[in-house]
Amino acid sequence: MSLVKKNHASSGNADHRHLPRDRAGLLRQLQDASPDIRRWAALDLAAFPDTAEALCARLEQETGLPVREALLTTLIKIGGNAVVKGLMPLLRSEDATLRNEVIEALQQLPEAVSPYMETMLRDPDPDYRIFSINVLANLRHPQAPAWLQAVIERDADINVCASAVDVLAEVGGPETVPVLTGLPGRFDNDPFMQFCVQATIRRIQGHDA
């Protein structure tokens, strides 16, 4: 019996690249039943930045992990306002894995995300505000500490403020300490908030982890 080792990646590539690679063809293949065809279509659509909306729509329903990875790779490559506008609503998804993927994608688009951050942090849904704060954790944007301080000063939800405090411990400096000290009082000196603020001030001042 002879054993033939299949090279799935290269054969898939060769097969699927015989299909039309124009914009319309790739958008059609994005809905194909074969995950391999969808994956290659998602990757090749990077050449067509105006397909961001269709890519985001596909991401919302896509269940194949390699296809999702390809969609996110292409969306990050395309970048810009259309991608951010397409990804933002996905933070409301019931799918926690998708939400995390979207958070990680948005973190890689700091300049495109920044015009929307103020709106995201004022969303009526506290969970959405927390996910937006999670985006800030690794956004590497110079305005991140100021956005977080504003949340700490105005937000009425204890979990939103606690999330902002936790991220501020990573991205803030000693100048943020005065904003933190008044926070427990806004929440009836809740023990969790008291602990968060004390621990964060110690972290910012470099006393412990």
Partner: protein, 124 residues
């Protein structure tokens, strides 16, 4: 001494649970995401897992589902604690295999009540 694995991406939240649990005589280990949590769960013997829902790399639901499929650790009790308060969030936690779903922030006495209940530890 009973051992608890705390899995949450927020450092202050992990420190908060650690402080509460250690003050009551529990040994605590921490993980900052689901993957790290799974690695530590598989490497050590824990009497309880305290798991956040929204974490990078692997979310809490996926972690708990994976724990329930691993013969060596599947019997460990799990408390999921999240900011999400909708009934479907609790349902998702129980479907994943959690023993209990609590909302953040959790008061120390509430946490200890359920930790003792699930670990069979009377406490110090």
């Amino acid at each position: 001494m009973k051992r608890v694995l705390v899995i949450d991406d927020a450092t202050t939240v992990r420190l908060y649970y650690r402080q509460i649990l250690e003050a009551q005589g529990f040994a605590v280990e921490e993980a900052g995401n689901g993957y790290e949590g799974l690695e530590k769960a598989l490497a050590g013997q824990f009497d309880l897992y305290v798991v956040d829902v929204n974490m990078p790399k692997m979310d809490g639901y996926t972690l708990v589902r994976t724990i329930r499929q691993e013969p060596a650790i599947c019997a460990g009790p799990v408390i999921m604690i999240s900011t999400e308060t909708q009934p479907q969030d609790a349902n998702a936690a129980y479907l994943a295999g959690a023993n209990l779903y609590l909302h953040k922030p959790v008061r120390p006495d509430t946490l200890m009540l359920y930790v003792r209940l699930l670990t069979g530890e009377r406490g110090s």
